[in-house]
Subunit: 299 residues, 2 copies
Amino acid sequence: MSLLAVGTVAFDSIETPFEARTEVLGGSATHFAYAARLFGPVELVAVVGSDFPATTLKRFVQLGIGTRGIEVAEGKTFRWSGRYEADWNTRHTLDTQLNVFERFDPKIPAEQRATRFLFLANAQPAVQMRALEQLRAPELVVADTMNLWIDTKLGELEALLGRIHGLVLNEEEARMLTGRRNLFQAGRLLLEKGPRFVILKKGEHGAFLLGREARFALPAYPVEDVVDPTGAGDSFAGGFMGSLAAAGRVDAASLRRAMLYGTVTASFCVEGFGVEGLEPVDRARLERRFQELAALVTP
Amino acid sequence: MSLLAVGTVAFDSIETPFEARTEVLGGSATHFAYAARLFGPVELVAVVGSDFPATTLKRFVQLGIGTRGIEVAEGKTFRWSGRYEADWNTRHTLDTQLNVFERFDPKIPAEQRATRFLFLANAQPAVQMRALEQLRAPELVVADTMNLWIDTKLGELEALLGRIHGLVLNEEEARMLTGRRNLFQAGRLLLEKGPRFVILKKGEHGAFLLGREARFALPAYPVEDVVDPTGAGDSFAGGFMGSLAAAGRVDAASLRRAMLYGTVTASFCVEGFGVEGLEPVDRARLERRFQELAALVTP
């Protein structure tokens, strides 16, 4: 498996209707990696501050998460804090301290430039592009983005869309980026901008894959006790990309399986704070829930 | 096929973000029947006023919708008017004139009392119960309800739940009726009140079947141009019950197929005002969209 993710490693402070926690290990790259490592080794490219515990980096390695691309910079690690409302769908960002991430310039280690599967977690599109350009000939590049970049860096984002194979975004972002309310129309317009497929994330309502060769709609796995939704999207991406990288191919059948695996890893993610839901998962639990989800959705 | 529905036949005035229409043929029984008749004959028990056009009753018969149980009472037909917001999910009721429906006392024609499949569209639970009690030994009774009865007639509704096999309701109603925010917990509590299965309708996000023997989650069919969502739930019920009545059995496989058929008939419904989306559909178009939906959701 040849998989690399570029993104954030962070500490989050999270308030839910039931509990508040501070200094929870998080960040897009972290969530991605904790999901993807269930399928095989995954490499991270990120930056942390000098306050980042060496024990956590060691834990990454134990879990099969490569840390050679994690730069340790003078200063503090990225911190985010947010609060969820009782419906889980409304999230208020209370504070964002970029800290060392503010000057993040991704450097892919030389020995990883032949990586075949690349995930570009949400970041300024120009930063995503700089990471992408360091890879020799990636077979599958999937990127996430956010409303901020659609608002402020649309040109950069459009350029990126011409270089990637897959785009992951939520409903609101798809509408913003295309000006279409109808999601399927929005998805089709996005395909015209470059990607081979678009994944529309709908949170508790599942995800929709719209590709040139395949369309696949999938409800979410029915989680009974949501603890913390933070990182669900990146965990989805981790399961999705991990499954594809392990399979080593990106045909319609692999994409469908990857959608199920992404849904499953996201469901584990939301069952704990930060990566606490994903950390204890092993291959057997992953496969059991995959089979359960497949049974739930197969007509 | 042995299928009967008790509900309303009405005229609706509908405002959408794109168009306004008055005196559109509607009502829960009408929408149900226009979907169910695609699978075989269906009988209606309802009341209309003396203003109801005889030509419309003739049209029902032409379409395979039995009208012997439709009482024509002195007065005006039920009228409803509402407005949809641009997201389609927010509906404002502007006016409700019950008219002859106010004194509706369902009378099942003697020759229809052996009907095997019964749908009780949304009505005061005591009225639904009076209809149910006239049937000899129905094999499958499915009921719809609404927040008003949960608020004002909870005792009657609980009594009804003890007598039916299936309950159709939306997310908000399931939460109101059980006091549980989590839909899967809500669904399980509802099963303890009597029904063998509960269908949680999520509109554009699909539907979830939670039964004693089966769980099945299904996204909505991706309709590109929604014209009028009025009646989508009853059209779902019509396709669902029509498919089961035509199959003549209610096992796990039939329930899954019925969920797909309900999703398909609902998708046709929202493509036109009132029943205009459903009316031109024939068996071939129904089957094509069924196959398309099955391909979209099969892992």
